[in-house]
């Protein structure tokens, strides 16, 4: 019974493909794999905009939008209508072709990235043998749209914002890739389906072996999600689009539907990279405990994605924005050494397989990560001078 519910969408797709004549079956199969992605994730984007505004509002001690529909549930629809009907203003001296193509160059690679993610058991659009490489290759191509947007607007603030955004994105790409390298190392494959399958075996009788339950996995997960926040330009790393510093950075000259496309592209990128983090570290579509296996796999995946979205919204509401030099210092002087140490500790974990039970290995590897963390943290912190209090006499 639980397997039929679990494989509901897979069997639905097979049945629909069977209805189509023989010659068209490949194309029908491809279209039926793509259509759910194109339907679900923009819907999730709409829900997230509402959730974010409500969540941020509550964190900032105010109500979020509550005018449009009960609890403001129809706010995304109102936002959509506003974006679509706004006048599309393009500066006269802007480079029209580049300015026009920038949102397209953002959306296309981001949607391509969804094609290798497994959303449930047997529910992946393409099971590529080098899925992780494809994901990062396509993610690197999205940085181009930032440059095109900034330069195409022929505005000094745009160019400055675009250069800062690209510098931030390439700086944080390294910790992102190297922290996912540990998972690839210990799984022995770049294929995302294989990575989830290797996290399936149950230890201690009830615990699925998610990668996050290992010391290198925990450190890697934290580093991955910090780098993912920076890659998606979210607070505390949202200097490129901070409204109080640089107006809107590379998005200044965009209005109406193109701005909506950028907005959607940014959130879709956030979902894609969270999904990759879930697949690599949090067990993908697996349940945490073996006795919860009856819940369908896609439900687990979207539950974890929802939890991560709430976590990102929470962080956005809580932490202040980093300055550009603080951001770059953090990436190169703290994150990169930590990720390299993480790779070394992952190797240590692998080679200490015969040493004795899991607790000993766990504490040894965790110690090897915690000591550099403390030392690096002390080293990177700026020297703060003692405060001198002056009182009037």
């Amino acid at each position: 019974m639980s397997t039929t519910v679990d494989q509901l969408f897979v069997s639905l797709k097979h049945w629909l493909v069977g209805l189509v004549p023989e010659a068209w079956q490949t194309i029908a199969s491809i279209l039926l794999s793509i259509a759910p992605i194109l339907g679900v994730f923009p819907l999730l984007f709409a829900i997230t905009t509402w959730l974010e505004r409500k969540g941020l509002g509550r964190i900032q001690n105010r109500l979020g939008p509550n005018r449009v529909g009960p609890f403001g549930w129809f706010q995304p629809i109102a936002d959509g209508i506003k974006m679509l009907t706004k006048e599309d203003v393009v500066p006269r001296s802007a480079d029209h072709l580049v300015h026009f193509l920038a949102p397209v160059v953002l959306i296309v690679p981001v949607l391509l990235a969804y094609s290798v993610l497994p959303f449930g058991k047997n529910m992946v659009a393409i099971d590529l043998d080098e899925g992780v490489l494809f994901f990062f290759a396509v993610g690197a191509a999205t940085e181009l749209s930032v440059f095109m947007a900034g330069w195409g607007s022929r505005n000094k603030y745009s160019v400055l914002g675009a250069m800062r955004a690209i510098a931030q994105m390439i700086s944080y790409e390294l910790p992102l890739v190297i922290s996912s390298l540990t998972v690839v190392m210990l799984t022995g494959s770049l294929s995302l389906v294989t990575i989830v399958d290797r996290q399936a075996p149950v230890i201690f009788g009830f615990l699925h072996q998610w990668n996050v339950f290992t010391p290198w996995g925990l450190a890697g997960c934290v580093l991955f999600f910090i780098a993912a926040t920076a890659e998606s330009n979210r607070t505390p790393f949202d200097l490129p689009e901070g409204e109080s510093e640089i107006i809107a950075g590379y998005l200044i000259e965009y209005s109406g539907f193109k701005y909506a496309l950028f907005f959607m592209g940014e959130y879709l990128g956030l979902f894609a990279i969270s999904s990759l983090g879930i697949t690599l570290f949090l067990g993908g579509w697996l349940a945490p405990f073996a006795f919860l296996d009856w819940i369908p796999s896609y439900l687990w995946f979207f539950l974890k994605l929802f939890a991560l979205i709430c976590l990102f919204i929470w962080i956005r509401g809580t932490l202040p924005r980093l300055r550009i030099d603080q951001l770059m210092n953090f990436a190169w002087k703290f994150m990169l050494p930590m990720t390299l140490i993480n790779v070394a500790v992952a190797g240590l974990w692998y080679f200490s397989r015969e040493w004795g039970g899991i607790p000993i290995r766990w504490f040894m590897c965790a110690f090897c990560i915690a000591v550099p963390y403390v030392l690096l943290g002390r080293a990177v912190e700026p020297r703060v001078a003692r405060r001198i209090y002056r009182y009037s006499n």
Binding site: A141, M163, I170, E173
Partner: protein, 167 residues
């Protein structure tokens, strides 16, 4: 001669010509990116998937962005207004040399008998096999590339660093 090959090759060659001949440097760099993407598509058509994705990651994701940054930092994109579109006479010599090169290469390719064999069936090349090759047969080039990239990184940072203004 399959349809995807014709489209991809035509797109790639047209954007390569555009990359070399446009006046605005940033447009040249963007056409170069289209060339790289076309080349990645050709690699994928030949079933070299790892190389195709590595091409996108390295060339489009790093080299092209480096070129764009260099264009911005050297202010080469600011064009003096009022320049007429004139092909300097020195261009014809370069184009002639390139045409002679192409002619000799094309002659060599079309008159060779070695290339008329039919292709063998493509097998599946997995990343595991590439990894084994890198660690067994090609471990020395792998280590040397690591050294080379480290040296290039340190060297590039040192060369482009601003010298300290001596007071």
């Amino acid at each position: 001669m399959s349809f995807p090959f014709i489209i991809t090759a035509a797109l790639m060659l047209v954007s390569a010509v555009a990359a070399m001949s446009l006046r605005n440097l940033v447009h040249c760099a963007l056409c170069l990116i289209v060339t790289f993407a076309g080349l990645a598509a050709l690699f994928l058509q030949m079933n070299a998937r790892f190389v195709g994705f590595a091409q996108i990651l390295v060339y489009i994701g790093a080299v092209a962005i480096l070129i764009l940054f260099a264009i911005l930092l050297t202010r080469s994109s600011e064009m003096k207004t009022g320049q007429l579109r004139v092909v300097p006479s020195s261009w014809w010599v370069g184009i002639a040399v390139a045409l002679v090169t192409f002619g000799s290469l094309a002659l060599a390719v079309s008159s060779s008998t070695l290339l008329k064999h039919p292709p063998s069936e493509p097998g599946i090349v997995t990343v595991k096999q590439i990894g084994f090759q890198l660690m067994e047969n090609y471990v020395l080039p792998l280590e040397v590339i690591g050294l080379l990239l480290t040296a290039a990184m340190i060297g590039a940072a040192l060369i482009a660093m601003r010298e300290k203004q001596s007071p």
